[in-house]
Subunit: 373 residues, 4 copies
């Protein structure tokens, strides 16, 4: 049943497959008056794009979006914004042999189990191509967040295989430091070793996993809802909805298992800003969210991304008839998903934050809200 819409106030609906004529996104709920043009969408699309470096798949897609609605004379009108991203380089011939054989680690078998059949060209709806629509929606969300609330979102790679970056303070990472490295790791030394590892893995016809960190700065305190729609819950869902994500954590994350309350609690202090006082925590072990609501500290999340399932090695599998066989996928695949994952993770964080930013507005109607903006 219908599952391609997300969000309550900032609502994103997508459609499209890997090898169809294009991908489509409708973003409903953007307030009127936001300056928006195709140029605002291009940078994020470029960072997601295949073929941007030798580290990633070489499918050639210009990803040139067309805004179909919701923008008039350069500003959003408050009505839904539809964007179409045509597909160009959809070489179906690469995929014909997977029509009847289930690739290990892919959704081939589960799609057949769900729907009875599937669009087998390049993974169909389960392809990472689908994220192009999310990146468009994320770019719109990011612009709204930046212009209205000054929120900035950065995603970068902190681990590939056993190479771990040294990022002691997420708030010091810059877009420039990230984008100066094709692997999108802001630690240059680690980035060099990550590239070496990815190249080696590819030469061995294998793939490798890693961890990305997604950070939002200057999020006001007070975003999120207390129970099911906790900010951590909606962010967790959004990041888990990306292909290949098998783990999500924020703040101290899984390290809390061995920690005591006295070590994990962040102590609160008051910071004076001219005449006003702002509550802050000395440390940010809580990753910017308490009780599912933003605290005003940076939101820091990490995603574990599995190694690409498509590898150019023979792997044991079965076909649709249940016969044993082997498959080796020699198409154009990323040996490591992390470099292109960063913009996808940013997009999903932006979509969720824009939704909760708009949801929080109604709480302002009857009462002054200290500490929030």
């Amino acid at each position: 049943m219908a599952g391609s819409t997300t969000g309550t106030a900032f609502r994103v609906t997508t459609a499209g497959e890997s090898h169809g004529p294009g991908n489509v996104v409708i973003v409903d709920g953007v307030p009127p008056g936001l300056a928006l043009a195709v140029d605002d969408l291009l940078p994020d699309l470029a960072r997601r794009r295949p073929g941007q470096s030798t580290l990633v798949t070489q499918r050639k897609e210009p990803d040139h979006p067309e805004i179909m609605s919701g923008v008039f004379e350069g500003r959003t009108t408050g009505t839904p914004i539809a964007v179409v991203v045509p597909s160009v380089d959809a070489r179906s011939r690469d995929y014909s042999k997977i029509k009847d054989t289930y690739r290990p680690g892919h959704a081939d078998f589960t799609f057949d189990a769900k729907y009875g059949f599937r669009d087998y060209r390049g993974g169909g709806r389960s392809s990472a191509r689908e994220t192009v629509a999310r990146v468009v929606a994320g770019a719109i969300a990011r612009k709204l967040l930046a212009e209205r609330w000054g929120v900035q979102i950065l995603g970068y790679v902190v681990q590939v295989g056993d190479v771990v970056a040294r990022v002691t303070d997420p708030t010091t990472v810059t877009r420039e430091a990230i984008e100066s490295q094709p692997v999108r790791c802001p630690d240059p030394s680690a980035a060099t070793r990550m590239i070496e590892l990815i190249e080696r893995v590819r030469s061995e016809r294998d793939s490798i996993g890693g961890v990305a960190e997604i950070v939002a700065m200057d999020v006001p305190a007070g975003w999120g809802e207390p129970v099911f729609d906790k900010l951590k819950a909606d962010l967790g869902k959004a990041l888990f909805s990306l292909p290949a994500v098998v783990g999500v954590e924020y703040g101290n994350g899984f390290e809390v298992a061995t920690m005591r309350g006295s070590e994990n609690n962040d102590l609160l202090v008051a910071e004076e800003h001219g005449e006003s006082t702002q509550v802050r925590s000395r440390t940010n072990r809580h990753g910017g969210m308490l009780g599912g609501i933003s605290s005003g500290m940076p939101i820091v999340m990490r995603c574990a991304v599995k190694p690409t399932s498509s590898i150019a090695r023979d792997q044991e599998t079965v076909d649709r008839a249940g016969r044993s066989t082997t498959i080796s996928t020699r198409g154009r695949h990323d040996p490591c998903l992390l470099p292109r994952f960063a913009p996808m993770g940013e997009a999903m964080m932006a979509i969720v934050l824009a939704d909760h930013a708009l949801r929080q507005v109604t709480n302002r109607l009857l009462i002054d809200t200290p500490g929030a903006s």
Copy 2:
């Protein structure tokens, strides 16, 4: 804005605070004809209940639910099921001193930032008391899943502090093995050491974190949706929506960071069952979900649960006026949340699986679906 409803086809809405007259849940979408009585709700409530052992908070709540609607002559009618769980032991006097002081690690400050003020009695809506409504909904979901699809869900503790349980195969864990230990760890040796650790931590007026594993067995292949509502995404959201969860993973989880595709992929084989053939994987590194859709293998998820924020030690903080102060919370608190977390995690997994079970039904209308049931 409204955020206390979850689910699409199996829809759960909750209301209630820690120290109000009671908690309320409405479950809408349960198919007609399911045998249901108050007795079906009591076991899970008993496992969530405070005061069940010396390891947990000693607040005394009988948690006796009343079914207000949706059941007639012992069967569900198809109309919404409302259940009220009155609160009895709500000692407001324990909490009066936290009215104006923000407890570190709690939602006190973020609620004030969100709403401008809060029900300060025992955490109000951010209290773990709120999960009593979820456990009721989970018990209904679990019954539906068991009777219609044979799905079984188990939650247990696999780590407290540095004590790690040895659970090599989740499918061999039994409800009896879990419940025979007050700490809900099915490895008796680890359970003993966990209890010792929790008692020591409490005597030191501190708290300790841990990890719980939640497993669903016999889930048919084909549940979940391809994009935003991936099964892993909805399960991730549901588990992150529980208090104190700061990390969620499934299958190999964060270990994939150092793994290669050739190590992480599960190879597929065909198993003959009489005349039919079922596709299975040799291993279950994928934790039962591929492309966001269930594969028929056990769904295996893990949650990192932080140490209780309430500790009986002076901690630096600020009050509502922004003045520095200290606070020590001496109330009745769990020194470790893990023992009572297991039934909450099971409830959330059951709610999500029931939702996706019902959502999958419409895909059966026009086509035969091989491999799914």
Copy 3:
């Protein structure tokens, strides 16, 4: 599938049947800070209550609601408000004979067709008893609308049988004029004749239909959405969702069929209010909504309400086994639904307007909105 929740920003979920222990409503999305107490709910409940006059059913229900959550120290907290209204006078014996026989005009047969069986006591979920939950939600919505935006909502009877009230200007109708008549018609002369007609119909063991008008005054221009969620559409749905409503119209309504554009269009004029100018229409043939969005003029809607299906005459019907039989329902029924319909219609209009009031808030974020408040 789940259908007992309505609204996007002001979200109402109900549960409960005619003869269960009580009805339950959860209202999620009320902004924090609204003064609210049980006393705010009682007047509307009293107007909906059975037994209030000799014109209506004599079932005796005190309808004493309990607020379970979402209110603290007399103000809403921003978290969901649950209200339970226990049922007291549920005489199941009156209904035992309809267990297997379908009453003409009732939902007995359609419920069986839908669910396979039904709670046959007093109509179960299809009973008008269910509207008690809506009236509670409506009272909360009405208070929010009045306090924040000054919106006033009135419902009254304009026709019973062939007795038509003379109400030339809805804005001159007062609550006092309505409530001074047990039939809730503000035209005293018509009211007297309506009462006579209802009494005569009852003495003839029959029932009679009519029309109610529901009016909202001082609704700001700009509420509503352009396409599916037009204000007229959501109001239309809300009014059609009430039992016995078989027609809804606004403004000129069905009279437009014979009108020309030059007769039906309302001409626009500018009214000066001190330094500001407000756009108004000379006439209100459009009933306060243009393009599905409020115009600032009074919203005027009318509902056709069918005669009570339960009549104390033998009527031809069939039983569950498909055998021909007759039925006469001698229980305690309203011979005319209109007097008690007015508060139900007001409640539904209030719920929809509160929802759209909150939905409109996000449009204020980036741009000044002339003409709206």
Copy 4:
């Protein structure tokens, strides 16, 4: 806030304005396996299209849709179906003068009040052009309903001005009888007089209203939900969401005001079909719905459609600055909306019925449902 998505299980999202590059619709929730091609969309688009006869606006739009996703090898895949309908004949010059002047009867003023500004070209999002997306979604819904359940939906004109068609039995109306008349009235004599009236009204630079009837045959008993999402409520919302609809009724509609229960109730009888027995009513005064749930009898609804607001006469109005002025809209407008309304009404009924058809499926899981199919 977001309002361009409708439906729960069959979910339709639209975007697009009158004079943008095109209109977009995403239909999510269509079960896999439905045969679908562009040719299935063309007939309904042709019936909605401007320029089809001299009775309607002469804007020339080929309305050639492109299916972007969700269909593979001629069958739906279960994933969202996106369709783009490019606009071609968008003569912006016709509309430049209405940039700052509010047209009486249009949404110009209310859009400005809502959003602060608007896309003034041809009504923007409030234009009837937007319904092209609904007709696409309706064509998909109609195909699903016909192939799986045998449901047939017909819309036709029963009144224009004072010309009233004679349609005694909706079940005898045929598509051929409707489409043989450019005014879409199946009564040839009335159709002739309607055409004369429309031509006269146009020559007088005026417009005229009317009534359309929308009928669904062979809808199984049991579709709909008991409370907020009653079938009549969702159908009412859907029809009211169409431009110019100011009244909706079903069955006896507003005539019930003067009717007695003994006149309005439909008596039930059992019809034998071979070995099975089906409950039917002798008459269909209830228009196919009881308690908000389909009864198995034809669903019969009527919509009051106002006269076109755009007329080529000077009308008093104000501009954005609040100055008095006049406006006469000489563009290409329908003098009567009814002929093109019929396919729009059919589309909305199909969308709602498809949604409730899919929603009903989950009620079949645990229990046999007599009387429904």
